[in-house]
């Protein structure tokens, strides 16, 4: 049985500009500054500044917060980003317009957000998905008396509305590509049934992930239709570990889900997607892990690709979950970034599974990169990690490069014994 749930209408963004009107034609996205500022306006924000930066430029974005791919399902969003832009109603069907090659990127100081950077050229550009996108950077000045949690919420809601509005400009354009996306098959066939288990780092303010507009922190694992990811049901408010975070952009383009879709009906059957919170205590981690394994068993998984978000304590969620899956006879493969030290000789995983030992490496968190000077920087004047001007040359651990060790499997960086 082949269920076609969602169609992505892909518009490739090749050129960008700011202008008087928001338009999309012949691959050029023009954004009205006035309109965009109006969309971002919020009592918690005194002002916002909008700037495009494009691949290949001598430019750096620091203090990178969330990133969103422009998408819409119709005028006014028509249900996109449910719980934020649209009402909290289930999505994942019909057609969704995608401005591929563009992103709305909030950048600036938030307390407890770990310093993160994106380079648009040089060696770090290839390590981040945003190194290859035209980025509409939203810088901001908080209102004088605004609480930081309101600033955070205003940026999130505004960025999502702005992303929906940009995609709306392409509603009448002929798509460059049309992607018919299969839904996971509930029927067992001849092929192995492989699914995704995606942990979301849900640890409270500034370290939270939202599903249908609500914090997922106190929830139990659940099946989610992959099309719901495409329509923005999962939104990130999580600003820890830049290289190990999963911004909204990555949930919209979930690499493991896309790979399972690509191979569905060929060498495997896509069995489903289970999302799980990463709670902050051992007992809850054990409950969530056991529960996730039961959901996977009920959905008929033969194997699960388990992904994490965050640093060391998220490894505990991984280990517990992979072993819980193994206990139910489900083969688990974990995607792990390694924390092997600068010279690569440290124990690379904080806590490894005991039974389910299949792991894919997304690279060494501590590996050092030499970054060159840039002509301009957005998001701030200083790169806080090294207290240097944001445009200067410095050495950084891969850990600070946005999504460079993507737990969702975006990158090609890996580590090997040598």
């Amino acid at each position: 049985m082949e269920v076609m749930a969602l169609t992505r209408l892909i518009h490739h963004v090749q050129r960008v500009a700011l202008g008087a009107r928001t338009t999309f034609a012949d691959g050029e996205l023009v954004v009205s500054t006035d309109e965009a500022e109006g969309i971002m306006a919020h009592p918690a924000l005194a002002s916002v500044r909008l700037t495009w930066v494009s691949p290949g430029e001598s430019a750096r974005i620091v203090k990178v917060l969330d990133a969103v791919e422009p998408r819409t399902k119709g005028p006014g969003g028509a249900g996109i980003f449910p719980g934020f832009v649209g009402p909290a109603r289930t999505q994942g069907e019909g057609e969704t317009h995608v401005l591929r090659g563009a992103a709305v990127v909030a950048a600036g100081f938030l307390p407890r957000a770990q310093e993160a950077l994106v380079d648009l050229s040089g060696p770090a550009a290839a390590l981040s998905p945003l190194g290859a996108t035209h980025n509409l950077v939203v810088e901001f000045t908080p209102a004088p008396d605004a609480g930081w949690e309101h600033v955070d919420a205003a940026l999130r809601a505004g960025s999502l509305r702005l992303a929906a509005r940009l995609a709306e400009a392409a509603l009448d354009a002929e798509p460059d590509e049309i992607e018919e996306l299969p839904s996971p098959s509930p029927i067992r066939g001849d092929r192995p049934r492989i699914g995704a288990v995606t942990n979301l780092q849900t640890q409270g303010l500034f370290k939270d992930v939202f599903v249908y507009g609500r914090s997922f922190g106190s929830s139990l694992p659940t099946l989610l239709d992959p099309g719901e990811l495409d329509d923005g049901a999962v939104v990130s408010g999580q600003f820890g570990h830049p290289a190990l975070k999963n911004p909204t952009y990555m949930h919209q383009n979930h690499p493991v889900v896309n790979e399972l879709r690509r191979r569905h009906g060929h060498d495997l059957d896509f069995a489903g997607l289970v999302i799980c919170p990463e709670p902050v205590n051992q007992a809850a981690k054990e409950l969530v892990s056991a529960f996730a394994a039961k959901v996977c068993a009920a959905a008929g998984f033969d194997a699960a690709l388990v992904t994490k978000e965050g640093g060391g304590n998220a490894d505990a969620d991984m280990a517990l979950k992979m072993d819980a899956l193994a206990d139910l006879g489900i083969e688990a493969v974990g995607l792990y970034a390694e924390m092997a030290g600068i010279d690569g000789t440290g124990p690379s995983i904080v806590v490894a599974p005991e039974k389910a030992t299949a792991m894919v490496s997304t690279g060494n968190y501590d590996h050092r990169l030499q970054l060159p000077t840039m002509d301009r920087a957005l998001g701030g004047d200083e790169f806080a990690l090294v207290h240097a001007p944001a445009t200067s040359a410095f050495e950084v651990p891969t850990a600070v490069v946005y999504c460079a060790l993507s737990p969702l499997g975006w990158g090609r960086v890996t580590a090997r014994a040598g």
């Binding site: 790979e259 995607l335 499997g409 090997r416």
Partner: protein, 355 residues
Amino acid sequence: MANIVHYINQFFAGVGGEDSAGSGPTLVMGPVGPGRRLAELLGPEHEIVATVWCGDDVASGIVPAIIDLIRSVDVDGGVGSDVDGGVGGGVDLVAAGPAFTSGRYGLACARVAAAAHDAGWLAVASMHEDNPGLDEAGATPVVASGEVARRMAPSLDRLAGAVTKLLRHEPLTAADGRIGKLARLTVMADARAAERAVDLALVRLAGDHTATEIPLPRFDQVTPAAPVEDLTTAMVALVTEGGLVPDDNPGALESARATRWLRYPIGNLDALMAGEWRSIHGGFSTAYANDDPHRILPLDVGRQLVADGAVGSLFAEYFVTTGNGTSVANARRFGIEWAADLRHSGARAAILTAT
């Protein structure tokens, strides 16, 4: 011709056994003890220009002094030529051991080789795989020796082979007897991680139960300390990796990937007031800790324990770092420094809170 400096301990230098284990580092020109056989094995193309020996009790703690001695060969010795045949070069390679299973000697060999590597020389150590010093070599190569000194001859054969190969600028592999950690090197894979993960799942489902990109990590064996005999007279220290610091973070403790630890006085305090202390840890939501710092550092109850006579006293400072993406090498160093400092200060136990 290549110039080699050989590091050995006091015993193999022929100076003495345990009675001489406290001797400081000494430089001798030319090969000494096992170095003579090593020089023969290396042949005329290579020369052991000097030997540095040091007592086992002190060597691992004074590695910089040992390196300085080797450097003095480099500068003053001015012996011969460098690998490329030019005149006036200095030391090309530092070889340490074989240390067999001797723990102190192995630790010294590993640290000397690692420091020599950091100083820019080629370096290799030789010891048995079970030597507890092995991990200290870091990414510097170590080749296997026999278990005991009776296995000197084959151990030197292997060390000589490793030296020769390193001087040809070829990497050592398991075939050369290389043991210990192999560094995890960052490379670009042909396919994205998501695609490789699906491939790995299919390989596993097809019956391969061991395939993986990451071997299971090997952690240190920790030997538990003996219990404290009488806590009612003991000084107890409070320490934490929870990133709790004075509100303005005067020591600039990092919120992640800490490279340092700090100490702050609490001897005159009975409690930690909200607003005066703050956790800068980047790995968890710190609102709870900032509302009541005792959730990270239990000073209030610590004072109760002293008042009730359950412990003798509290150490007058607490130690703090941030355990968030902190490398094991740094964390191990913090632990060693904390333990040494506390022991020196007379503390008998430490209560470590971890987030």
